[in-house]
Structure formats: C-alpha cells, structure tokens
Amino acid sequence: MNPEVNRNILIAVDASENSRRAVQYVADLLGGIKGFSATLLHVIREPEEDEFPDPEEKEKWYQEYRRQVDLMLEDYRRMLIGAGFAPEAVSTRSSLRYCPSMAECIIAERDSLEYATLVVGRKGLSLKEEFLFGSISGKIVRIARDCAVWVVE
C-alpha cells in the first residue's frame, strides 16, 4: 500500500435510510482493511432566529436534537467497528453552524479536516423536489474539489 495516499474517509450522515446505506457501503467495502480511518459527520443546521417562540424552546430543541444525533452517530460508529474498522480509526463529529447550503457546509468541513474521500447517501429525490429544494449530494458532486466523492444510492 502506498503510504502517501490519504486513507481518511469522511462520511456525511443524517438519520435517513440513504445515510445508513452509505455507512453500510463503507463498512462492507473497507471493513477489516488496515490503514483506513473514517469520521462520521453530521452538520446541525442553525435554526432561524424566530423558528422557536423563545430561546428556551430553542435550547430544548437543540439539546434533544443533539442527543439524537449522538445516538445516531454512535449507531453508525458501531456499524463500522462491527465490520472490522479499528475502534480508534472511527471518530464522530457534529457541529452546529449557519448553513444556507448544507452541501457547502459539508465541503467546508471536509476542507478543514483534509479528508481524501467524502461519502454521502443519495436521497433519490423526484425531479420536482430537486427543482424546488435542491439536492445535497448533487451539489456536492458539482462543487467538491481535491477529493473523491462517493454517492451511495
């Protein structure tokens, strides 16, 4: 194996089935092969300033959301370890940030962490949903630079 090759993989996830499939794909493909490390990333979109009636409600929402995210990330982490990844080679990361574009936020995380491969699931949006709301995986494919992007369907 060429030691110069970056074998760090960033898997951007949420609670959807397509994210689970993406994690499973990485687990099946690379589990048990030494030298790879994976980080499971979930970006928490900062809610708009008045999405909640008061700051307490927002904090309550955030704490609950964070708890669910931690559980989700731990679940995915176990999937990778169960497939043969060394426990120390799997990390999790979640960050709360202002996110007009989730794809750009994920790419920004990748840039700051210097992962060579970015993995995302594809939701399988209908044409009209993609038109109205945009596609995160589609945009990542379009704007990612200096890394490989795996889109798992």
């Binding site: 979109r45 300033e49 008045d50 044409l127 038109f131 109205l132 709301f133 945009g134 596609s135």
Partner: protein, 333 residues
Amino acid sequence: MRENFSQESLHQLAAHWAPSQNKNHPFRIYHDTSDFFQIEYGDIVVLNDKAYLVRHNAKEGRFGLDDEVKFWVKRAIDLSNGETKFIKLVFYENFIARIGDISFECFRSPVKEARILNLIGHHPNFMHGFSVPDDQGNVVRILDVIFGLTLADHIWALAARMDHETYFYQYFPEILDKYIECVEAIRFLHEYGEKHGDIRRDHLLVDRDSGQYRWIDFDYNFRHRENIYGYDLFGLGNVLMFLAGMGDALVPYIKTTDLKLYGELNDNDTNIVFNNRVANLIKIYPYIPKNLNRILMHFSKSANVFYDHTTQLLEDLYEFKSCFPGKEVRNEP
C-alpha cells in the same frame, strides 16, 4: 417614558383624522398586542409612543377564497399624521404547505419580515414599512398601504379586453420590463441571504401611483433543504408563465376548447409541479419567441437543468429582451 394617551386626547386626535368616529366611544388602548383577536374596530394600539386607531381587519382574496380575514393584520390610522397603515401583529403559525403533491413545513416569521423591511428601505419594488416592538416584545410591522390591483387581477383585466397576440406584442414588453425589475428585487434579497418565501402573482401589487410592481408579504419561512432560493425561483417561473400566457394556460380548459391542440400536448409540456398548467406556451401561441419559451421550459416537466440563482434567470431574460419586441408597444393602462 411611555406616552399615556388620555381618552380626551385620543378623541381630539381622532376628530381630526377620523371625524366619523363616535365622540362618545370609549377607546380601549392596547400596548400589548399578543391577543390580536381582541383588537377591534375603534380600538387604539400604541406603538413606540404613537397611537393608531384601528379601522378593520385586512382581508386577502386568494385562489377562490375571497375575503379571507386576516385577524392579525389591522388597517389603522396613524393619529399623529392621519396616514393609513397596515399593522401586522405577531401571529406564530406553523402549517404544512402543499405544492402539487409535495408538502413541507412552513412557519410565519415576523422577525424575517421585519429584517427584510429594514433591508429594503425604500426600494421601489417592495412594500415599505418598519417594525416596532410592543410592550411584550412582539415584533409588530407598520406597513404603508399600496393602492392597486394584484398582478393577477391586472392581467385578468387585460385578458378580458383582448386576444393573446395583441396582449403579447402591445402590452407584454412593458410588463416584462416590470417583471424583470421584480426579479432584480428578489436577487437583491438573495444577495443578502434572504428569501421572499411565498412568491405568487397575488403577492405582487401594481402600484396605482407609480405603476411599478411591488412585492408584499415576506413573513413566510421554512427550513430550506439544499437550495435556499429554489422555492423563490419556482415562484418567479410561475409568475413569468402567467404573464407570458396572459393567465394560466390550463390543460383541462384546452381539452374542452381545442381538442387538436390538446392532442399535441404531452406531459413534458406542463409545469414541473402544477401539471395542469402548460409551460410550453409556444405550442399554444406559436409567435412566442423561442428564447422566451426556453426560459419557460426551465420550469417544465422536461427540464433537466434548473436555475439555481436569480442571476441565471436574469441573464436569459435580458438576452430575450434584447431582441424583443418587434411590433408596436402600448403603455399599460
């Protein structure tokens, strides 16, 4: 220190600006507007030391539901100068919006509307106003009244008087110019990271004084997914389709009036979301230039490339405009 209006002083002010007001009417005075259902005709709302005399609730005609009362929007008189204003009170509402068969969660955002009012200042293509907190910190918006028809009513009024070809060559060029101004206005919002949130042809008013089209109602909000501006762009496309077609070109109507044309239409000719509206207008009106029709087809079921940003739509509109029209143009009535 907070201004305390006496009944006597209020009656003096009201007598000046609203002489029809009953002189013996005991004013109920609200500094806290949380319970907007309670605030009725003849009540006083005091905001930022100004007294507003409430006349009635605003109404909105919308897709057949004419005169839907908006209890949180009061038409009122500013008793300091007699100006009529809309006072938009805080109404937190979460609801599921449905567009075709797609649904998503929306909420009313007074703070967003206040932010946008502050951002646009006196921009000619938006409603104007400012926000002020009431005693409970509710973000109340005080809006100037725009006199004029909705763009939808304006176009339907033209449609009642002429055929499409006359409209298209004689009136549409000027309408297009004004529409482009409105797209520029939305681009301005987007450049500041704001979305309108509910772009529809009845959220554009034709200002009777200036003749300009002006966006209203910016308080709709939703947790966007990837493209923060996608829904606004969809709205802009629908408005353009409506303007170019002098109304909606409805498939069921064509089916009953022109079977030959109906036979020539297929699924890909329709609006990407509203499948009963024809986007491929050139099939109905063959004189529509191809470069305009191409823009419309970005909003059709056959589209495989979408506009991501208003700048892309504007580029295509300017390109079309540069070679249109060819015939005599009349000013809009």
